[in-house]
């Protein structure tokens, strides 16, 4: 169990899901996440668990919603343009308060785009395209080991808060392999006997639905959801800091982009520049509080993403208003190289000093 193995991100997610008790998987193949379904199609059959290759992504997410309402631990996985199809059901699952776990291994958009790696779904995941006041917990791994750890966490948070959770994975990470350990699931099981639909034998009947024609009740329901989101925002902000304590310049990045960004930070540290890296791990709830604290000392923030600046707005919301914020990004394809980032930062620093 605790042996180190060379694992692909996708396979690591699938193994971790089984390891923490995922009992139902519904999915439809799409690059770059097809390995997840392929692996589970064999393994779930062996374990006599429910695996359905759905007729479409819309089918898959709605099957997940149905199974979740009966108290099963469910997962579906897909990629960008197909996750777009699932937005309606994510809104429903949020209103129904169903613990659906969705893995989005991102490809490039918009529209059909192509299978190139990209981080273009930050907005899709954190803001979402469904209707109404709802929020979805979003976690973003930067290594294969974190794919495992955050899969466990996704299932746990989904159950704990009765809320859909998205594991937002870079296409690069899904396909990439590195040594990782399938450790034990560290989270406790959450009792769902008070709400799951498992037959009304010896108890009053229940139902789960999002339709609410009574105005007062719908108001109460949305307010109740919002109180839950506030609770999530209070408890579940997770991030990683790298050399931030004395940093005057802080680089922000999420997912695998943060790895190259740390190498960039090392480069500038060697030149005597006080630089640090801040990596949000929970994209919702975004770690605004810590970012605000850091901006008391750091007056320059540079956000680096494989998109045109989606997390940038959250960085802007987080830091104090007198900080200077810049952006380095590229929408699609090969990850920004260390040298490219260093050059771009040098230009930003030059402009900054020129303006003083």
């Amino acid at each position: 169990m605790s042996e180190k193995n060379l694992l692909k991100g996708n396979i690591a997610i699938a193994k971790a899901a089984l390891n923490c008790g995922c009992s139902c998987y519904f999915g439809y193949p799409i690059t770059p996440q097809t390995d997840i379904g392929e692996y589970l199609s064999l393994e779930m059959q062996k374990r006599n668990l429910a695996y359905v290759c759905a007729e479409s992504e819309i089918g898959a997410i709605n099957m997940a919603l149905g199974a979740a309402s009966s108290g099963e631990k469910v997962m579906t996985s897909s990629s960008s343009c197909a996750v777009a199809l699932m937005q309606e059901t994510l809104s429903y699952a949020s209103s129904d308060e169903l613990p659906v776990v969705l893995v989005n291994v991102m490809r490039a958009g918009p529209g059909q785009g192509y299978i190139f790696p990209s981080q273009g779904d930050y907005n899709q995941a954190t803001i979402g395209g469904g209707n109404g006041d709802y929020k979805i917990i979003v976690l973003s791994p930067s290594s294969v080991q974190e794919c495992i750890d955050l899969t466990y966490k996704s299932f746990y948070l989904a159950q704990k808060y009765r809320n859909p959770t998205i594991l937002l994975v870079d296409g690069l990470l899904g396909q990439m392999a590195e040594p990782a350990i399938i450790n034990e699931n560290p989270y406790p099981d959450v009792d769902n006997s008070s709400w799951r639909l498992d037959g009304a034998k010896n108890r009053a009947s229940r139902n789960i639905h999002s339709l609410e024609p009574n105005q007062t009740k719908l108001n109460q329901h949305v307010v109740k959801l919002y109180q839950k989101y506030q609770e999530i925002e209070k408890n579940e902000q997770v991030w990683e800091e790298y050399l931030c304590d004395d940093a005057e310049i802080i680089l922000t990045a999420f997912g695998t982009m943060a790895r190259s960004v740390k190498a960039v930070c090392n480069h500038f540290r060697q030149l005597g520049i006080k630089m640090g890296v801040f990596r949000p791990i929970s994209l919702y709830p975004f770690p605004y509080n810590r970012l605000r604290e850091l901006s008391i000392k750091a007056k320059c923030f540079i956000d680096i993403e494989m998109n045109m600046g989606q997390m940038l707005k959250d960085v802007r919301l987080g830091v104090l208003s007198n900080a200077h914020i810049s952006f380095i990004g590229k929408p699609v394809g090969d990850w920004l190289k260390k040298e490219e980032i260093i050059n771009a930062i040098n230009n930003i620093i030059k402009e900054q000093y020129a303006s003083i």
């Binding site: 180190k4 193995n5 060379l6 690059t31 770059p32 299978i115 690069l172 396909q175 990439m176 392999a177 590195e178 040594p179 695998t256 790895r259 190259s260 740390k262 190498a263 090392n266 090969d334 990850w335 190289k337 260390k338 040298e339």
Partner: protein, 182 residues
């Protein structure tokens, strides 16, 4: 120390297989390692390559501009990746399927007829392991024990192939004399 590798050729030549074997050898030698296959709408006969990055410390960069070592198992791969070799780096070329031609003088070239050598061993599919042997010879501190373990991990469902591949690997490992390379 960080070292980057690109292994390239065409679909069916076992490019990704020796990429994972190499990555496993590094893992078993307690190095930090990442393995990235190119992924796309590839098919048998199409171009395939993968990147392996190895480091003594936590590996920080993923997709790198250039590699210290490149293996090219056919002409297309040779043409495509010759520019990706770092200054002072090495390219290992399958001369059975690529012309012996040195267009750069800032890198080292190793040409060897991997396909012909594999045919001599009775299996064209193990040309990749011969090339891997040549590569590992150029690296420090990797033990034969870990190489065998890596093959056993990758080929655990095809046990009969382990011996054949290790044999091919050893042929490659002993193919180039050190003075010849320097």
């Amino acid at each position: 120390m960080i070292k980057n590798f690109i292994i390239s050729g065409s679909g069916g030549q076992g490019i990704l297989s020796i990429g994972t074997v190499l990555a496993n050898i590094f893992m078993l030698s307690n190095k930090f390692v990442t393995y990235c296959p190119c992924y796309g709408a590839e098919m048998r006969g199409g171009s395939v390559h993968c990147e392996v990055n190895m480091s003594d410390d936590e590996l920080l960069t993923l997709q790198n501009e250039k590699a210290d070592f490149v293996i090219a198992l056919n002409q297309t791969a040779f043409d495509k990746f010759i520019s990706k070799v770092k200054e002072g780096g090495t390219i290992i070329v399958n001369s059975s399927m690529a012309k012996i031609e040195k267009t750069r003088n800032d890198i080292k070239y190793i040409f060897a007829p991997f396909t012909q050598e594999a045919l001599k061993l009775g299996n064209i599919k193990i040309a990749n392991s011969i090339a891997l042997g040549v590569l590992v010879k150029l690296l420090d501190n990797l033990t034969m024990e870990n190489v065998k373990k890596a093959y056993e991990k990758i080929l655990k469902n095809k046990k009969e192939l382990i011996q054949k591949n290790v044999e091919a690997y050893l042929l490659g490992y002993n193919y180039i004399q050190e003075k010849e390379y320097a």
